[in-house]
């Protein structure tokens, strides 16, 4: 790709990312917010693929857009929040504070970043691809960290299921402890039958 084309793609994805992340915070409907967030993730994946981090870009689409955002969408639809009148109320009173805070932080970061603007790095040319490098690192030195990440995911699964699981109250089922405790003389009575 030529230089201008790469720049064009970068600015296009950045514009999509900025607009969609602003819409996440500004839109009134939750489902629309989730959809804008999905667009933000897709734009970020594009940016990462542009900067030659293909694996993470694809992981972002698969894990975030495919799994986490679906979870968000399910919860938003399940809760049935209706029209958010209260949101507009809070929105008016806090918009100035939030905007001020955000502008302050952004200015701080931009001042930090600005001196480095001239440093243009060389492209990452490696004989092996991004995926090979990541795989060698993840399953070489960081194998223990991968195991720990697996444990974290397991804890998340167990925690989420435990928190949201509801026992049915009028649900007929076996009382196994009672069944085991039963002896012969509880259930069986011998009666002498006379003629």
């Amino acid at each position: 790709m030529t230089a201008t084309l790469i720049q064009l793609v970068f600015f296009a994805f950045s514009a999509v990312l900025l607009i969609s992340s602003m819409m996440v915070t500004l839109t009134n409907r939750s489902v629309h917010a989730v959809l804008w967030l999905i667009l933000a993730f897709v734009a970020t994946a594009g940016l990462w693929i542009l900067i030659e981090a293909e694996f993470l870009g694809l992981i972002l689409i698969i894990v975030y857009v495919g799994a986490v955002m679906t979870l968000f969408l399910f919860v938003v639809m399940m809760l049935n929040l209706g029209e958010e009148n209260s949101l507009k109320r809070s929105y008016k009173s806090w918009v100035s504070f939030g905007a001020m805070f955000a502008v302050m932080i952004v200015l701080f970061f931009l001042l930090l970043v600005a001196p480095n603007e001239t440093s243009v790095a060389v492209p990452a040319i490696s004989s092996e691809g991004n995926l090979v490098q990541l795989g060698m690192a993840l399953f070489g030195n960081d194998a223990l960290s991968v195991e720990l990440a697996a444990v974290i995911l397991l804890v998340a699964i167990v925690g989420a299921i435990y928190l949201t699981h509801r026992e049915h109250r009028h649900y007929k089922k076996q009382q196994i402890s009672e069944q085991i405790k039963v002896t012969k003389k509880d259930r069986l009575r011998l009666v002498r039958v006379t003629k």
Binding site: I6, Q7, S14, I105, V106, V113, P123, S126, A156, A160
Partner: protein, 103 residues
């Protein structure tokens, strides 16, 4: 990739971070949108990590992103479960009314 300076990525990520901070402050009556803003913040941090990793030729940044994605997925799963519990108990997910600890 010589045509895009590192600073552009950093500025983009700073802007997204600021937007999501404003989102947390403004959406005080909506717990799910606060959680979504936190996801955006993590995304901004990840953009920084990936940009630095590619520009300094160190794969460690991308490994950090990998683990941040893992932890963020776990966090949003548990967070959404807690939100469902809060909604079941109180009938709303307004952060402002969750003030029992105030005594």
């Amino acid at each position: 990739m010589t045509v895009i300076p590192l600073a552009y990525y950093l500025m983009l990520s700073a802007l997204i971070f600021g937007i999501s901070i404003a989102g947390i402050v403004m959406n005080r009556h909506h717990l799910i949108k606060a959680l979504m803003s936190i996801e955006l913040m993590l995304l901004a941090v990840n953009i920084n990590f990936v940009a630095f990793s590619q520009y300094f030729h160190d794969i460690a940044g991308q490994i950090f992103v990998f683990f941040i994605l893992t932890v963020a997925a776990a966090e949003s799963a548990i967070g959404l479960a807690i939100i469902v519990l809060v909604f079941r108990r109180r009938g709303s997910i307004d952060i402002v009314t969750l003030n029992e600890l105030r005594g």
